[in-house]
């Protein structure tokens, strides 16, 4: 299929969504389930309000801090685990346990421990993103070809050069898969955590709007979350992946 054709098929989903939306909304009162026109109006109202940007900003801030902490620490721990089999074996049950628990289940505990505000939300994000990235970094380390290491060694590479010119590029594709998966989980968990115990943020905006029966603002919140995720994926993560991991064989 040509790129244009692919793009056309993909873009068909937008009118489709709108049609389904209109069909469902037409069966309910506007106050309960508003149609596109009301929601778009609400959207433009919100885009003109400073408060809306504050909520988006605070969620982004939490995401940025939490995700950076998770990515950097997962990378370090993953590399060490890749280098040491005993450490890997030691980590394995811990990773399985934490991967099986939904990150936002920790939110109440984090709020008790860290109080309201940014800290517990950041903790949820770290919890959500750390393990998927870790698992993928470890996997990437295991996939490093012995012959690549030996080739570098036979040219006289030292430890630093080995890490910089073999380990790092070779682990990138796996690490990036982890980053993309971890990002998706982190973003969703953040919104959920803000809904149950936040004091601000896009998730909090949605839950308070719901309590006040403001369904059109709820819809605006949901659409904002989706669009932002799409934006990060397309503008940030995919180009980065292309830049650092495009050589990987399709898996």
């Amino acid at each position: 299929m040509t790129d244009l054709k692919k793009w056309l098929w993909g873009s068909l989903s937008i009118p489709f969504l709108f049609l389904v939306w209109i069909a469902i909304a037409s069966r309910y009162p506007d106050l309960i389930f508003p149609g596109p026109i009301i929601v778009i109006k609400e959207f433009s109202v919100q885009l003109a309000s400073a408060e809306f940007y504050d909520h988006v900003g605070i969620s982004l801030y939490r995401l940025g801090i939490g995700f950076s902490i998770a990515a950097v620490s997962a990378f370090i721990v993953g590399t060490l685990a890749g280098l040491s089999r005993p450490f890997r074996l030691f980590l394995s049950p811990i990773v399985s346990f934490f991967q099986a628990t939904p990150p936002m289940a920790w939110a109440p505990l984090f709020i008790l421990l860290l109080d309201l505000g940014n800290a517990p939300m950041i903790a949820v994000i770290v919890m959500a993103a750390f393990f998927p990235i870790l698992v993928n970094v470890i996997q990437g380390m295991e996939l490093i070809k012995q012959s690549h290491i030996r080739a570098a060694l036979s040219f006289g590479a030292n430890r630093f050069q080995l890490a910089r010119y073999v380990y790092l590029p070779e682990v990138m594709p796996s690490a990036f898969s982890g980053v993309i998966v971890g990002f998706g989980i982190a973003w969703r968990s953040l919104v959920a955590a803000e809904m149950i115990g936040g004091d601000a943020g896009i998730g909090w905006l949605i839950s308070t709007s719901g309590q006040m029966a403001n369904s059109s603002l709820v819809m605006v919140g949901i659409i904002t979350i989706g669009l932002m995720a799409l934006f990060f994926e397309l503008v940030l993560l995919q180009p980065l992946k292309k830049r650092f991991a495009s050589w990987a064989p399709r898996s």
Binding site: K145, S147, H148, A151, A152, L153, F155
Partner: protein, 265 residues
């Protein structure tokens, strides 16, 4: 044992066991002179790759010594370049960056790196493909990249583990001729592991026959066909006589293996 003055690679009484129980090979001694082409043949699992890895310095022998120019070597180094069976090209680098890798490790500056790499690429006949991605190359072209990557650092010894086994017959013959041409030009000493008797005779000055079941080197056959060699020589009686000798030797190795496995190895 007296070592000759022009020995490039000396292997002295090498023994290897991975687990301390089963012997992979024992008492392997070889003297290889500068510019010689030596092939190692032997049944699968007899330790050819292991021997090459010990010479390269990737694994430590249980006992014995390796000398390059009379200097003992213990770890990998650029004096012994390796062409790996899986080639070990770096798929995240394009052709020229793969070729330049060894120079980058040696911290050569960018301009010299470029010049030397272009030279090597030309020598293996890949001019015009400098920017190509490794994924897009044919098997034979990848081979050439792997060889070019070793040439840039001017290694004295080239170690190759079944480098041509994945190629079709036609490409394989071409690469064999290329390799001889490159050796002639560079004066490198080459040690090649191969399963092909034909290839061993065609390329080598000496063919080493290893035996199965943790033995010493079974035999060494000197191939005194004139150089430069060409495809027609493969049809001569002399060529076939060398092949016959080798096959005979390998058969004896097989009988030997049978006795060994009977004794619980």
């Amino acid at each position: 044992m007296e070592k000759e003055l022009n020995d490039k690679l000396t292997i002295n009484q090498l023994n290897l066991s991975y687990d301390g129980k089963r012997t992979i090979f024992k008492d392997v001694s070889l003297n290889i002179k500068k510019g010689e082409f030596v092939s190692i043949v032997g049944p699968s699992g007899c330790g050819k790759s292991s021997l090459l890895n010990v010479i390269a310095g990737f694994i430590q022998p249980t006992s014995g010594d390796i000398y390059v120019n009379k200097t003992p070597v213990k770890k990998p180094g650029p004096d012994r370049a390796v062409v790996f069976q899986d080639l070990a090209l770096f798929p995240w680098l394009n052709v020229i960056d793969n070729v330049a890798f060894g120079l980058k490790i040696q911290s050569m500056d960018k301009k010299d790196r470029f010049e030397k790499s272009m030279e090597a690429i030309q020598l293996v006949g890949l001019s015009g493909y400098e920017k190509a991605s490794i994924h897009d190359l044919s098997g034979g072209m990848k081979q050439r990249v792997a060889i070019a990557r070793t040439l840039v650092t001017n290694p004295e010894i080239l170690l190759m583990d079944e480098p041509f086994s994945a190629l079709d017959a036609q490409t394989r013959e071409n690469m064999q001729d290329e390799l001889m041409r490159i050796q002639e030009k560079t004066g490198m000493t080459i040690v090649l592991v191969t399963h092909s008797i034909d290839e061993a005779v065609y390329l080598s000055d000496h063919v080493v026959v290893m035996q199965n079941g943790g033995g010493a080197i079974l035999d060494m056959i000197n191939v005194s066909l004139p150089r430069p060699r060409n495809l027609e020589m493969r049809l001569t009686p002399a060529f076939n006589e060398y092949k016959r000798q080798l096959i005979q030797n390998l058969k004896e190795g097989h009988v030997y293996k049978g006795e060994q496995s009977g004794s619980g190895i």
